[in-house]
């Protein structure tokens, strides 16, 4: 079983410690949800895992290979992909061109065009294929970014709030897509604020607060955690 191991990761911005000795493990075929209040360090953790910047200390291991010092494109080549909290696509390129860029890395050039059309179909973006990406809705942009991350055929996928700011209908589409990653030998980690969604899709939950992992376990275990109840389920304990 493949796994992505995060070992004692610490990351500070100046005097502010955004991640403090964070350790956890993400397993294959499970959807792990990373939750925690604003500023808890969730995005920073994903940034470190995907090579946006190096940690100050600690290590990252994918299939027991040390990837701590690999630049992000090398990590993608090992199978570690991501989406961003704030939509991160090629705004002035068409939807189809957006998809072709990761495919140009992942596929032989004779397969790119076909694979692009297939992905656009799967993600319901076929009718926008020649529209510039700035001009489609925010929800469709989120879907496009997911399709782009999937296009590199990742073994590990980090999704940073894929449903943030999208309408109900599109949100449902995104959740269904995430659920489909299960059983495809993928390691999926999703940052999500909406607890209903979290409990619906997560097999494992990692709770962060002030740069530390304060609890991790099955949804049942987390449901009974005092901190989570206080913050998310608005209960007095």
């Amino acid at each position: 079983m493949a796994s992505f191991r995060i070992e004692n990761i610490t990351k500070a911005f100046g005097k502010f410690t955004a991640l403090n000795q964070v350790s956890t493990e993400l397993d294959e075929d499970l959807i792990s949800a990373i939750i925690g209040p604003n500023g808890a360090g969730k995005t920073t953790l994903v940034n470190v895992c995907t090579g946006m910047f190096p940690p100050d200390s600690g290590g990252l291991f994918f299939d027991s290979r040390n990837v701590t010092k690999q630049p992000s494109h090398k990590r993608v080549q090992l199978g570690i992909a991501r989406t961003f909290q704030i939509v991160n696509i090629f705004p002035e390129l068409t939807v189809r061109e957006n998809i072709r860029v990761p495919l140009l890395y992942a596929r032989h050039k004779t397969e790119v065009e076909e694979a692009a059309d297939a992905l656009l179909d799967t993600y319901g973006l076929a009718r926008f294929r020649d529209t510039r990406a700035v001009n489609i809705s925010h929800g469709d942009q989120k879907l496009l970014e997911m399709a782009m991350a999937i296009a590199v055929a990742p073994k590990v996928l980090f999704l940073d709030e894929p449903t943030a700011g999208v309408g109900m209908e599109e949100k449902e589409k995104i959740i269904e897509t995430v659920q489909r990653f299960k059983g495809k030998n993928m390691i999926t980690a999703i940052i999500e604020h909406d607890m209903e969604t979290v409990f619906r899709i997560a097999d494992r939950i990692i709770v962060m607060n002030e740069g530390e992992v304060i609890a991790q376990g099955s949804p049942e275990e987390i449901k009974s955690n005092a901190f989570v109840r206080k913050i998310y389920l608005k209960e007095e304990v």
């Binding site: 995907t50 946006m52 630049p71 992000s72 494109h73 993608v76 080549q77 992909a81 991501r82 991160n88 696509i89 090629f90 705004p91 002035e92 390129l93 061109e97 072709r100 860029v101 990761p102 140009l104 890395y105 992942a106 050039k109 790119v112 782009m148 991350a149 296009a151 590199v152």
Partner: protein, 304 residues
């Protein structure tokens, strides 16, 4: 498809015009037309970086004059044959662009512009001071063209057309898409599994290569060279042309150069204040015709 045929038709018409024009022209106008063709190649090559990769180089005089000086020195100082001089010039340009690329790879925007500017100024300094080889301020004269101006024009024309066609093909290939995606969002390119640094390096060397070709053609057109083509003001020429014509379009810089050279011809005849007028023209285009001449024409045609 229909659009492609239209473009093809327009290109064919322009080529026919360019083939026919010199028949009715005297030496001076053929010289002017040659200059426009060469500078158009210069501007389009430069715009591989600005319009398509999103990098503003302010030092392209380095590649233009680097290639030209190499040929001039090889021919005069070293008495090498033309073919050997040309090969050495291409090598020189590739080395210069690799060094420039290496030093500027991780920088963008104003930082990138300043690094390229500094390197080209360094080269200009060397050209000015290394008199024994470069002739300093006086430059190098007596480069044999080996043919008449009209004949030379008909040598330039196919070279420029083939070069432009090659650049067009490259920019519209998968490689071109990667350059455009770098312009749009470097982070997403990395997270698509591509090395941004590698493709930026390729773009730099490609742009420099065709700029070098333009420089060599220019050298033989004039038969001499001096440091004005190494100076930063010469690096500004393709920048201005791209802004006037529209850097987002392949053909933008060509129209920009046409307007730039013709305007300069006309303005300098009537007034000594040509820089002032040119400045105003650029300001007006940048402020009121965003997307340049080509961008504005396309908007007009779409009826916006």
């Amino acid at each position: 498809m229909v659009k492609n045929y239209k473009n093809l038709g327009a290109a064919a018409a322009i080529i026919l015009l360019l083939l026919a024009l010199p028949i009715f022209m005297g030496n001076y106008n053929v010289y002017l037309l040659s200059k426009i063709l060469i500078l158009a190649l210069f501007a389009v090559a430069f715009n591989i970086l600005l319009g398509f990769t999103g990098l503003l180089s302010f030092g392209h005089a380095l590649f233009f004059s680097g290639a030209a000086y190499t040929v001039a020195i090889c021919l005069t100082e070293c008495s090498l044959p033309v073919w050997a001089s040309l090969i050495l010039a291409v090598l020189a340009v590739l080395v210069l662009s690799a060094v420039t690329g290496f030093l500027s790879l991780r920088h963008k925007d104003i930082h990138f512009a300043l690094i390229t500017l500094s390197l080209s100024m360094l080269f200009w300094g060397v050209v000015m001071k290394w008199r024994s080889v470069t002739g300093g301020e006086d430059g190098i004269t007596g480069i044999p063209r080996m043919m008449s101006l009209h004949q030379y024009y008909y040598l330039i024309l196919p070279i420029v057309i083939i070069s432009l066609f090659a650049i067009y093909k490259i920019l519209h290939s998968n490689f071109g898409l990667l350059l455009e995606s770098i312009r749009e969002n470097e982070t997403r390119v990395s997270f698509s599994g591509h090395s941004v640094v590698k493709y930026r390096m390729y773009a730099m060397m490609l742009s420099a290569f065709f700029t070098g070709i333009a420089g060599i053609l220019y050298l033989f057109l004039d038969g001499c060279i001096d440091p004005t083509v190494s100076h930063w003001t010469f690096s500004a020429v393709p920048v201005i042309a791209s802004l006037i014509g529209g850097p987002a379009f392949f053909s933008g810089p060509m129209f920009g150069i046409l307007i730039y050279v013709l305007a300069l011809e006309i303005i300098t005849k009537y007034t000594l204040f040509w820089q002032l007028i040119l400045g105003i023209v650029i300001l007006v285009v940048v402020l009121f015709f965003r997307g340049g001449i080509v961008g504005s024409l396309k908007m007009l045609r779409r009826g916006e």
